[in-house]
């Protein structure tokens, strides 16, 4: 079965430090890959996506993600964390040509002042 894994339920980082939220996928072909963020009592907001091309994708709010085909990973990164980055982050994958999207279980990011 196709799946997306986020191995960490929670990531804790001090403000100003770099952050990484991990994601690996098991999806056939060359899937489209996504990161979404969900703030409390809000819907999911699109952060960034990888379809093809450069392995480093830049997105909203200073986030970027690194695609690694050999490791089937798509880790989310930010050079300097802000307290306001504290939220729930979802990695997702969509097989090419498919309408459905497969979500990971989510990682709660907590940035301490």
């Amino acid at each position: 079965a196709q799946s997306v894994a986020q191995p960490e339920d929670q990531v804790n980082v001090a403000e100003g430090n770099p952050l990484t939220v991990k994601c690996t996928y098991s999806v056939s072909g060359n899937p489209y890959l996504f990161w979404y963020v969900q703030y409390p009592n809000r819907g999911l907001q699109f952060l960034l996506k990888y379809i093809t091309g450069d392995n480093l994708v830049k997105g909203s709010y200073g986030f970027e993600a690194e695609f690694n085909k050999s490791q089937t990973s798509f880790h989310l990164k930010k050079p300097s964390a802000l307290v306001s980055d504290s939220a729930l982050y979802f990695c997702a994958a969509s097989p090419v040509g498919a309408s459905k999207i497969i979500f990971g279980s989510g990682t709660r990011l907590s940035i301490r002042p």
Partner: protein, 112 residues
């Protein structure tokens, strides 16, 4: 991108009643999706709704419990029928625009 609105934003309902959730998009889209999410957890796809055809339901979800309408390319409704406390959840609609899914703000439902 797409701007999506949902009504109501939240509701508290009695068991045995039904609630209809509306989803409005600011552009015409072929497919709309309805998801359910327990707070702090991942999303579960309920069904995919195409305009002019019956919705396609995922395993574990049935039309009698979650009837969906899709009268045009910018609007859809999801009804949660004969509600029980187990239906308490966040319901989200989404659309695909240029290979990316965008989500509405969600409807927070509490069934007593």
């Amino acid at each position: 991108s797409a701007v999506i609105s949902q009504k109501p934003s939240r509701d508290i309902c009695q068991r045995g009643t039904s609630l209809t959730i509306q989803c409005q998009v600011d552009s015409q889209v072929t497919m709309m999706f309805w998801y359910r999410q327990q707070p702090g957890q991942s999303l579960t796809l309920i069904a995919t709704a195409n305009q002019g055809s019956e919705a396609t339901y995922e395993s574990g979800f049935v039309i009698d419990k979650f009837p969906i309408s899709r009268p045009n390319l910018t609007f859809s409704t999801l009804t949660v029928s004969n509600m029980s406390p187990e239906d308490s959840s966040i319901y989200l609609c989404s659309v695909t625009v240029q290979e990316t899914q965008y989500f509405g703000p969600g409807t927070r439902l509490l069934v007593l």
